[in-house]
């Protein structure tokens, strides 16, 4: 098992923009396997991006399947990922292997559609929501030199999460008014 060193902020290299992968080959797959082992070695880690270990290529791994009761696609290898569409915004708490001992609230799209190559170089498309969508957005940010620290919001920013607000309204028979 290979565990790569994870860069931690204030290492300036985390701010570097990663370049697209040109060729998906065995060498890349070897690296992806090491990146995945590094992610799984970290307690609670559900995602990792190549630049976190100093490889400035657009590669992200996300696997939130260990979390109970959430929609997920299992193990996702995303090479050259692109977010094609966003929907809804929701606040959630994030931490990062590259920012130890700190967590904070960040707004993310609730649903995203993502295109990427898989580890065989085949184009794939995923519709993700909630926790998995959050993980993907967090990891893709790393490819653009962004940390969740760049997107922190105040704890006073929101009052209610949109989804539950809507459910509550319906339950009371007050009609389907769109919140805000």
């Amino acid at each position: 098992m290979v565990v790569l060193e994870i860069f931690t902020y204030p290492d300036e290299r985390l701010k570097q923009i990663s370049q697209p992968v040109q060729r998906v080959d065995d060498a890349l797959r070897t690296f992806i396997a090491e990146l995945e082992q590094t992610m799984r070695h970290s307690p609670g880690g559900v995602g990792i991006a190549a630049p976190q270990v100093g490889r400035f290529q657009r590669i992200v791994i996300v696997d939130v399947s260990a979390k109970p009761k959430i929609a997920n696609h299992g193990r996702m290898i995303l090479v050259n990922p692109e977010i094609l569409s966003w929907e809804g915004m929701v606040k959630g708490r994030e931490g990062c292997m590259s920012v130890p001992d700190y967590t904070g609230n960040v707004m993310r799209a609730e649903r995203v559609t993502v295109s990427a190559l898989d580890e065989q170089g085949e184009p794939r498309e995923y519709h993700c929501e909630g926790y998995e969508a959050r993980a993907i957005q967090h990891e893709i940010d790393h490819l653009d030199g962004l940390l969740f620290l760049d997107r922190l919001v105040s704890r006073r920013t929101d009052l209610f999460r949109r989804k539950n607000y809507g459910e509550k309204k319906r339950r009371r028979g007050e009609g389907g008014a769109t919140p805000r």
Binding site: G44, G47, A49, R93, C96, Y131, R155, L159
Partner: protein, 174 residues
């Protein structure tokens, strides 16, 4: 004397520049700052600030005297055992609102404490109008006996006409 952490409490009528004056005095006096909560409450400005200093609480007070005098600030200092890197992660976020009335905080936090809630952060506001004030409170905490215990407890409160929204906080680490 070795380095010691203090909890510094500052309260005074709000005006621009309080944070800058206080923290500049501390910096120039050789202090190191830790975690802090600073907020305007009812026209006052309040600071709770961890300050590390190689010196006594008397020396710390002396550093702050000029700023305190000119800005009319009340200063309180406690030596503390606390230190940095002792964060507890919240796993639940609770928002409460309703018509403002006596006892709302005691009622809500009492029920939640009995159900195992450890409050890590709480902020609250009285808003609305003078005639019909509303109360809004936001809590982040740790559910010692699980989230379902809190949910059951909150049903009691909702019967009293207090709106409560509970969300599990599942921190995403990537």
């Amino acid at each position: 004397m070795s380095k010691q952490w203090y909890m510094l409490t500052v309260v005074g009528e709000d005006r621009p520049g309080i944070v800058a004056r206080v923290t500049t005095a501390l910096f120039e006096g050789g202090c190191n700052l830790g975690e802090a909560s600073m907020m305007r409450l009812g026209g006052n400005f309040t600071i709770m600030l961890m300050v590390e200093l190689e010196g006594s609480d008397g020396e710390l007070r002396k550093l702050l005297e000029p700023a305190a005098r000119s800005l009319n600030l009340h200063i309180h200092i406690d030596g503390i055992k606390g230190r940095l890197h002792r964060h507890l992660e919240p796993d639940v976020s609770i928002t409460v609102y309703g018509a403002d009335r006596a006892g709302i905080v005691a009622r809500v936090t009492g029920v939640l404490a009995d159900a195992g809630l450890h409050v890590l952060e709480l902020d609250s506001d009285v808003a609305g109008s003078r005639e019909t004030p509303i109360y809004v409170m936001h809590i982040e905490g740790h559910a010692g006996e699980g989230i379902d215990a809190l949910r059951s407890a909150l049903k009691l409160i909702e019967r009293d006409g207090i709106e409560v929204n509970l969300q599990p906080v599942d921190t995403m680490v990537g």
